[in-house]
Symmetry: C2
Subunit: 308 residues, 2 copies
């Protein structure tokens, strides 16, 4: 499978990602073999509220990237399907334009209830796609929950999508998005109110305090359904990537991503060890005492750790 | 603060929950003192997709509970505000009917980026409200991400809200919701399609395999804006709670909640220990090696744990 994935065989890549989703014990060996081949792909996160046109925009973005000869993988990370809902909808439906292109790999991922969830699986899926030689890995997620922050932590370049008529006041109040985007795109730019969203956002971004040497995120506009604006989006993505490389910022971003990944694996490993050894029975006893009000959870956690 | 909260002083309760949000070091002592007073409140989770009318439904539910003399606390857990966005919108706006009622406490919570996030803060906030003597604690969360599953794990009774016109096929495909509800409410029942949603859902629930002794979730209808149907919702909630008590199921649910809470605290504590001692610098070195492709993340995690 590892050899197949390295040669660009889509089925091998898909099977490796299934190993990640299943938290297979084989992953240790797989990741050991893949490690030397990682570190080349550009990881682009796309996030935005439901209804801004994420799938259509991803589709348009993939088209532009293909036009300049890039091999592209799309990971649709769907936190709204804690079980299997998201993947059921089918990747083919979502990305109709590119399903027969051998230079494009598309995959929906759900966490299948694994401890650590998508924070655990997504970076490892990126690792598989990186080693398989994709030039750009687009990670698409709905901008709800912690997922948008998690994606921003994973990506080299984070693209935040907005659209008119989505409750601009609420979008504006979500100051959090001002901190995660390297590039903002107001989609559905042919609709009423798009220019106001663009101006409001640009205004808020200009108020944010940034060092003079920091990256200054731009606000672009697009109509994803026709592809309009995506040549500019790709150009700005490339500009950001070049800036990251030039300033060595990419080294820091990738080290941070690796750190989060190691920590997630270590925590999952620790939990598994507890479950394997005495932890489970001891934890059950402590939990019963806490539920009965005989013990507080901090003291219980201390006892659990003390006996480790 | 603990004494004030025990006497029902809303300001003391609010300050204790702020300690939880801030992961204050004072929490150990606070939780130790609160423990003997916990275990009495009924915890009700309300979840549903954006747009089904969660806030209006919570408002209507609180009205019904007040009418039968219950003291009610509402925790609006907002995973869509990783920073402070959700809380900015203001609790008063959300729950206009009950803001001046001393028997109702309302609080929006965000995780403020704490490690472990809402999985860490929500059970401890419930613990504060429980010790403060609220009869019912309503935990409201948007049904996206893992949050709906997390809320179901926290609650004694989980109420899943649906509404017509929300993309019924997609709602249906989200098989996950069939596993978490103790009670389903089709809101906006005065709109076209509500009866079809009710029938489809009842049909799917009837197909799920359940033991004869298991709880059989009902599908009710409501119009939250007028309060219609919420007397029946409260009656069904009470019926479920009585069933839980009768079958001793409540002991298991609460022990599981305590177990998750202990584990979340223990994991946060372990992470903090790593950060305090050699972990941070060692992790940085390992992360740099992983980012450079010299090491895989599993081996790095092993080295991190081995040196603990």
């Amino acid at each position: 499978m590892v050899a197949g994935a390295r040669e660009g065989d889509q089925r091998s890549v898909a099977r490796l990602i299934t190993l990640v989703e299943d938290a297979s014990p084989l992953l240790r060996e797989v990741m050991r073999r893949l490690a030397p081949h990682t570190g080349h792909a550009q990881v682009v996160g796309i996030t935005g509220a439901p209804g801004v046109g994420k799938s259509t925009s991803t589709n348009a973005l993939v088209g532009e990237l293909r036009a300049i000869g890039k091999r592209v993988a799309v990971l649709a990370v769907d936190p709204s399907s804690p079980f299997s809902g998201g993947a059921l909808l089918g990747d083919r439906v979502r990305m109709g334009d590119h399903t027969t292109d051998p230079g494009v790999f598309i995959r929906s991922m759900a966490s299948r209830g694994h401890l650590g969830g998508l924070a655990w699986t997504t970076p490892q899926a990126i690792r598989v796609l990186d080693a398989a030689g994709f030039d750009v890995i687009v990670v698409e997620t709905v901008g709800v929950g912690q997922s948008e922050v998690e994606i921003a932590a994973l990506a080299d370049t984070t693209l935040v999508l907005l659209a008119p008529g989505m409750g601009d006041g609420i979008q504006a109040a979500k100051a959090g998005i001002l901190e995660i985007g390297d590039l903002y795109v107001v989609n559905k730019a042919d609709r009423d109110g798009a220019d106001r969203v663009r101006r409001d956002l640009a205004g808020m971004l200009s108020l944010a305090e940034r060092a003079a040497s920091a990256w200054q995120p731009q606000v672009l506009t697009s109509v994803a359904s026709s592809g309009e604006g995506f040549a500019e989006v790709v150009a700005e993505m490339e500009r950001h990537h070049a800036w990251l490389v030039e300033t060595d910022g990419i080294v820091g971003r990738r080290a941070r991503r690796a750190r989060d990944e190691i920590e997630a694996i270590a925590v999952a490993e620790l939990r598994a060890r507890w479950a394997d050894v005495s932890g489970r029975s001891e934890l059950a006893g402590l939990a019963a005492q806490v539920a009965a009000g005989e013990l507080d959870p901090y003291t219980a956690a201390d006892e659990l750790l003390g006996s480790d």
